[in-house]
Point group: D2
Chain length 361, copies 4
């Protein structure tokens, strides 16, 4: 099979770096183009990231000498790649929106990590296991903006990945959530590089992350919604309250979840069975990056833990634990996911795999 | 004024060490006796804690050569001190209960950090600002066990200090809590020494602390209760759900709190006013260790933070922040307290000051 | 006694913040003026440092509403203070040199933390215990630049403080160092704020700090030198080789020192005696910030340690340990000092105290 | 090829756990036997390590239900494995020596991580790239103790791995070291589990590790020595001075090295060439665990760093950097190796591969 040629917009940042590592030896995609800000454009990748490469493996040999393109110059992208992952950061969200739309209009599909288009009405926000059907909005999007081959698909915020699959699994079996209280313990890498000063977070926690409470309360409703009459209609009737905090851990977002259901309530035993057997479209399609088990439940009392569990299923699974009755709502549990793999670069790649298999790429 | 002679049972452990530092130059108490396990008894304090002194200030000069007594030998305690702080750890809670009772029976009042007697019916569990009236149970306790001068008073778990004063302040003004969901981010020092292995917690979080969820859900009800007919009657009608986690921070327990009231609900503005003006008996009595402001509210969006806020009011205040509406319950906020000062040794010393002022010591 | 009015140039940075805390309730100095970059000038201090206050105590009440001056505007400084501490950072060292000289020329003495003037021939680089006599160069400096009341004095780099006093103590007794190999483990706060990204240093060490090896090899020679014929002549015949590394510790620079003497070599026993009895001019003059014991030697095998020892003598002492024979050079030991107190703000304040007592302020 | 059956003595400890992970899917060895203390014997592996599994990947599926043998019971070992890795810990070194010798006498070759036999005269201490020829002592050892198939081989301390290969490479080309000053920054995992208390090391460094200075000064001399007249003769004329410190990093020992040569001295350029082309017997033999490049030199000024470099060549390479002239000795550089892979379990496995290839297993 001829591999699809992939590009990365914003290749020097944290998400871009992760994307580079995850695309090494990918079965379906070949990384052929890296773009960055005009300031970095024209430099070799290794030089451009000197002192800013923060991965725990070294730069792949075949990447280090790639010359960076300019994200604002679409001509090179058009020549060199079939679609792009966008991890671009610009001064305003408006600029990101415009730039990503320019790529789509030029015929280059965009799978974006940026939050700019997450609430654009006709842009699907995808977790492949949960709402693959939202891709049906793409033809509508194309029509609305007069797009031909191009389109924009986004992935949601990293803070919600640790609890969305467990909740979706329960919904799939008829247990609908009504109220959700969640507090998160989020990792340093979620803030990118340089991100948080070591003096701000060393031996400390910070009970606030700009914009995260709001994203955590709002994004799930779109993801759990449905495409109806050419529009994505939000899930109704779920109240979410979130407090997002930062902890001195490199990778892995933990969510402490309290959940109430509508009248039909699962027992603890049923939930465990549902989670253990949960698979969805990416598993059925055997997408290359799909975890065989999207939810791994740990029986041990003190799990999940970032250092032990984030790499489960190559960082693509959600690990859950501590499921028990809640004396205020119905149940409570702890979820964990790798924020830069499942929560960012890996989630985007899985989405691209789904798009390819569904014929959009 | 002649100072009261204080002893410490379990002086070599983490709480004991904190107690030693906090009693340096105390206005009312003089530290005259240190006791430890039979293994350490007879050794000079400095030698006994070599390699195990974990405070961030050095051992006070006047303490380092004190010869440790044996906690099981009451004779020396009777000669050398007027009352004791108990931070003793024994294989079983039953043994702690018995040992503390033996001191009380010998005429030595005990102010205990240990959890053993927290649910002994006629033992008050005191947060001096909240339930000083529970000391009225002491005469009943004395009668029940045939005690003369001695008695036992305990302080509650460190995990609840970060939210109890804020809730009590609201109750004092007629706003009664009905449902409480709390998750905690607890510090390393809460586990004592050696406590948690560095390999277990470095660059990690652990979503479980043995016994803490239960203590956090149960202890507040006794503390908020009332002495009626010679019995402490628990507060009724408050449901609490807790998830306690460990984070790699040396000192300072953070609580992320979601709270619902009964019908009468305060506005955000009212809560801030109530917290800001909150004082209680220890403040009115000007107890030496009492914080002038028991609750400090920070307006900054990203506070409270352990490294900045734990030493507010010498570690005796609770710092709160991020008060806002909750979309599931009524309000949410973040509380922080110094777990080994307000939450342990400092709380015990403030209780002893209250006992002295009230005539029990 | 009327207090001298002190100003801080660069008050919002890490050294400036430390300086503010250390000048609270100072016996001789009153903080009357804070200056910062033009961008911050005109704002109240609390607002200007919002999100950037990194001290472990809160902003002093009397400081938070001070309106920041502009470091480039000397007029306000002239009105409001008698001398300034400079912790200013500008794009180039040349600009710092010029700015500090403008203050001196305007009649405002400058005690600087900045490295710009450290090798200006007629500017003394002072560790008050070691080379107070270098202040004799001030009249020469004044003459050279046509200064009246003003002058510039600098303090050396934080990386050398952990071993300079121990070496000076030995020199004072006739034991002259010939070769020195030192490796340092330097704290995060040495890089200022935001300084090092948490992703760069969390769970990591970095074996390089820009410019530090060179400073560590070069500065001691000037400090140990002598004023001869109106010039500071470097100490001759000491070879120094340094490797400076960064470790994930908030405060406290550790130096691992291997040292060789000229022919006259002290025994381990003699060294201990010399260090224990070491005092110098600041101690004899009872300067307010002078540690009673400038060198504290710890007998325990595993000391000094940052979390236990940095606050010895309010952060102004050097703590040494592990003194023993070296199989390659003569002896080896480990030294530790608080990098932002003794190594920066505290060292500057002690220098100002010396200047006042010597009649220069 | 039929795989050799390997056992692990002390399988539940930190080195044992690493060994288990590294032997997964090994080309030549199959893990068939795990032994532990009598207390753990008879339990399934997963149960025995519950709460003590500290690896960053989960227990291999095929291992979790293995029932642990008793290290003191050789009968089971004899049935189940062809040789053993010893990571056993007993109250005294004497007991370890005896136990390992009992295995050898029973006909089971022992490759040991324990330090007990490191200075037993006829036991080779092996770094496969450096002194494979020391295996020639095995026949002597067998004769001395009347061993048939069995023998004992040990690997050296983890603290020396970061600089031994770089030095050996230079010796191979005729540049002989005369004086070596080294300070180390050693990782938490070097202390095993539970090892160091989080309260002892969090936000701290400790300038002392029991026994490490001595091992670091002594072991290299045996390794660099030669087998002459049936005895291993130490390398003569190299003086080593070491200071070993602990830093809050999970994995990776860093060595800061200052080195002097005998008369023949290499230039910086020559050293880089020598290191870059360095290969040795394990590379020539293509042993499965042998790194292709045993020494990786990084040009970047701020390398090597634990989080980026420890997994180079699957954790089996030494990464060096910062090579430059030393103003006291001749040169200085920084070396880094993965202490639990190259420095412990991986080093032992590579040694076993060498033994197999050489016909000893």
């Amino acid at each position: 099979m001829v591999k699809l040629r992939a590009g990365i917009l914003g290749a020097t940042g944290a998400v871009g770096q992760n994307c580079i590592l995850l695309l090494q030896n990918h079965d379906w995609f070949e990384l052929t183009y890296l773009a960055a800000s005009p300031k970095s454009a024209g430099r070799r990748f290794r030089e451009a990231v000197e002192g800013r490469w923060i991965m725990q493996r070294d730069i792949p040999k075949n990447i280090e000498d790639l010359v960076l393109g300019n994200v604002h110059d679409l001509k090179e992208a058009l020549e060199k790649c079939d679609f792009v992952f966008s991890a671009v950061e610009l001064p305003t969200k408006e600029e990101v929106k415009e730039l990503e739309m320019r790529y789509a209009q030029a015929g280059i599909p965009v799978v974006s990590n940026n939050s700019a288009h997450r609430f654009t009405e006709d842009v699907p926000m995808i977790i492949p296991e949960i709402n693959p059907a939202h891709l049906n909005i793409i033809p509508v999007q194309r029509k609305n903006y007069g797009l031909d081959k191009g389109f924009i698909v986004v992935k949601p915020n990293c803070s919600i990945q640790s609890f969305m699959a467990p909740i979706h699994a329960l919904m799939s079996e008829g247990y609908f959530p009504r109220r959700l209280i969640v507090s998160t313990e989020q990792a340093l890498s979620g803030a990118g590089y340089p991100g948080i000063s070591s003096l701000a977070i060393s031996n400390n926690t910070i009970p606030y992350i700009q914009g995260e409470d709001e994203k955590t309360e709002k994004e799930p409703l779109k993801i759990l919604g449905q495409v109806k009459n050419k529009v994505i209609v939000n899930y109704q009737g779920l109240d979410i309250s979130a407090t997002c905090t930062r902890v001195p851990v490199r990778d892995g977002h933990t969510a402490i979840v309290n959940l109430e259901f509508y009248k039909r309530k699962p027992s603890i035993e049923e939930i465990l069975q549902i989670w253990n057997r949960y698979v969805s479209l990416p598993q059925e399609m055997s997408l290359p990056s799909a975890p065989r088990c999207p939810i791994i439940y740990r029986d041990e009392v003190d799990r999940p833990q970032p250092i032990i569990d984030i790499y489960a299923e190559n960082g693509m699974a959600v690990t859950a634990g501590r499921l028990r009755k809640c004396d205020v709502l119905d149940i409570k549990f702890v979820g964990l996911s790798h924020n830069t793999i499942r929560g960012a670069a890996g989630g985007a790649i899985l989405t691209a795999e789904l798009l390819l298999k569904q014929g959009y790429l």
